[in-house]
């Protein structure tokens, strides 16, 4: 029966689905319908929600309520808060391990990365990392977790079996987001103040490339790479460039910037529609979400959400 249901879901129109956006200042989540491109639901959360991610079966949603010092677990259907997880202080970003059970959380104020078991709701480990940890990534095989620390300007490579750091790599100023490629051979890290994205080989943690950005008519100081997402074919990367109000399209093979797309003010993070044809960007200052047609590389619509939208996650 479940199999049939899954098939039915797969056969459903490709554009069905929702984008969940955390509004940092409103303490809410805005839910955008991918088909109508309208906000269909607004759900209250803890204080200053930022990072957001779904469980593998999309029944629960984890929310970093930074100022409530907790990670909230919400029923994705009803929007009720089921319980809270012990997260350590000021959780900002996190990543759910492929085992669907361990949440790796960056505690910005404490310079630690906390590992929480979402089933027993207990802290499994705390790992000392650099100052102001923020970006979190997990390798596809689940063996490596990355924490980037904003002030130490490092990517810390953590072995998930021993819960210890096995490598540190320097990146440019204020690394904010990290992401493994789908095949796990590369790690990409964005540096907000440095204005670059650094690409590492996961074999020996060596730097393969560094990508610079330049938006015509925008002062270089305002070009601040933060969130980024790989397209389905893994050939392009969309990089949000913060207060430059643009999203860059980077060729993932040549590491060249191919396009810049104008979006709302201070773009933070992004999420794809279920079929990956649309990309939704959270624009912090203008309080809206811009929809990008991935194939055309053009912004098609901007949707008003709450104040200071930050994180985004897709629910099919």
């Amino acid at each position: 029966m479940r199999c049939l249901l899954a098939l039915a879901l797969l056969a459903a129109p490709a554009q069905a689905g929702e984008i969940w956006v955390t509004n940092e200042r409103d303490d809410t989540i805005s839910v955008i319908d991918v088909e109508t491109l309208e906000v269909v639901r607004t759900i209250p959360t803890g204080e200053r929600p930022r990072g957001i991610t779904f469980s593998k079966d999309f029944t629960r949603v984890y929310i970093c309520a930074s100022d409530s010092d907790t990670v909230q677990v919400m029923d994705a259907e009803t929007g009720d808060i089921l319980h809270e997880l012990p997260s350590g202080e000021d959780p900002e970003q996190f990543v759910l391990h492929p085992d669907d059970r361990h949440l790796w959380i960056a505690n910005e104020d404490d310079a630690v990365t906390t590992v929480v078991d979402v089933q027993t709701r207990t802290v499994v480990a705390q790992i000392n990392v650099g100052i102001e940890p923020e970006g979190m990534a997990v390798s596809p095989d689940g063996k490596t977790v990355i924490t980037t620390s904003e002030t130490t300007n490092m990517a810390h490579w953590i072995d998930t079996e021993s819960n210890s750091i096995f490598a540190n790599t320097l990146v440019d100023s204020r690394p904010r987001h990290a992401e493994f490629t789908e095949d796990g051979t590369q790690l990409w890290v964005s540096s907000e103040i440095g204005g670059t994205v650094t690409v590492f080989s996961t074999d020996d943690q060596s730097e393969i490339a560094k990508i610079d950005f330049e938006v015509t008519g925008v002062h270089p100081d305002r070009v601040q790479p933060v969130g980024f997402e790989f397209t389905e074919d893994q050939k392009s990367v969309f990089v949000a460039l913060g207060p430059s109000n643009h999203v860059a399209v980077v060729n993932a093979e040549t590491f060249e910037v191919e396009d810049y797309i104008l979006v709302g003010r201070r773009v933070w993070h992004m999420a794809f529609s279920p079929d990956k044809t649309l990309l939704f960007t959270t624009n912090g200052v203008s309080g809206d979400v811009t929809v990008i047609d991935v194939a055309a590389r053009a912004a098609t619509k901007t949707i008003k959400v709450g104040r200071f939208p930050w994180g985004a996650a897709m629910r099919p």
């Binding site: 938006v215 015509t216 008519g217 925008v218 430059s244 109000n245 104008l262 979006v263 709302g264 003010r265 203008s286 811009t290 929809v291 912004a299 098609t300 619509k301 901007t302």
Partner: protein, 263 residues
């Protein structure tokens, strides 16, 4: 009916021949808006995007904003130029030839107007093509829907030119038309800045811009280019067209208008 169409064809052809004969005019007609687009707009600090106003669905660069306004500028200049060429025709004597036609005068004026509008539209599309190559593209439906919008706007601005030409005695007065009609119409409109921006600058300014028929012509073109209906703009443009046309017919009426006084 057939004679009327023959006259229309002849007048459109003459206008087209005259236009093709003046290569400089085509270049000038394209250079003017292109300078605005490539130099003025590029230097303007709006790389960070204008706030969202209909018909736009998302943030746009300033270059994208002024394209419909520059289409309007092409229609405005060309409308004035082709209608005021009647002044030249009057001086050269070819107008007498035209007026000896047995067809009603209003029809001859409408023919003249349509001829000028066709030229205007060709110029506007040439400009849109260059803008598209430059990277400012509209949805494809927009390019189709822009045709009637451009035509109505061109007729309206041409009719204004006709009405003015009936009051102008000499060709030299074109400079006066530039200063007192074209520039105020262009600058006091939504061609360069959205109306809300004008409202920030002052209520009087905003009211003038909102009443300017050129604003409505530009908005009509803008909405058409994005395949979005804008009935108020359409209504006001048509109303202005009717008013200017009536004024032109009155001006060219030998029994009552200015023609008699000029002899």
């Amino acid at each position: 009916m057939r004679r009327g169409l023959t006259a229309l064809r002849a007048i459109v052809l003459r206008e087209a021949l005259r236009f093709l004969g003046q290569r400089g005019r085509l270049v000038a007609a394209l250079v003017r808006p292109l300078v605005w687009l490539l130099v003025f707009a590029a230097g303007f600090r709006a790389a960070l995007g204008l706030s969202i106003i209909p018909p736009y669905q998302t943030y746009i660069a300033y270059e994208t904003y002024i394209v419909p306004g520059l289409c309007g500028m092409i229609l405005l200049f060309n409308g004035m130029q082709s209608s005021l060429s009647l002044t030249y025709d009057r001086e050269m004597g070819s107008m007498k030839l035209l007026l000896t036609s047995p067809l009603p005068r209003w029809w001859l004026l409408v023919c003249k107007l349509m001829a000028g509008s066709v030229i205007s539209i060709l110029q506007a599309y040439a400009f849109l093509a260059i803008a598209a190559l430059y990277g400012i593209q509209m949805p494809w439906q927009g390019y189709l829907l822009a045709l009637p919008a451009l035509f109505i706007a061109a007729l309206m601005l041409g009719a204004l030119g006709l009405a003015l030409s009936s009051f102008i005695k000499q060709l030299e007065n074109f400079a006066g038309v530039m200063n007192f009609v074209i520039f105020p119409m262009f600058f006091l409109s939504s061609a360069l800045y959205p109306l809300w921006k004008m409202a920030e600058a002052g209520r009087v300014l905003h009211s003038i811009c909102a009443a300017n028929p050129f604003t409505h012509a530009v908005e009509l073109i803008r909405f058409a280019l994005y395949a979005t209906p804008n009935l108020p703009a359409l209504g006001w443009t048509l109303l202005a067209l009717a008013a200017f046309m009536a004024l032109a017919l009155w001006g060219y009426d030998p029994a009552r208008g200015m023609m008699r006084r000029k002899g």
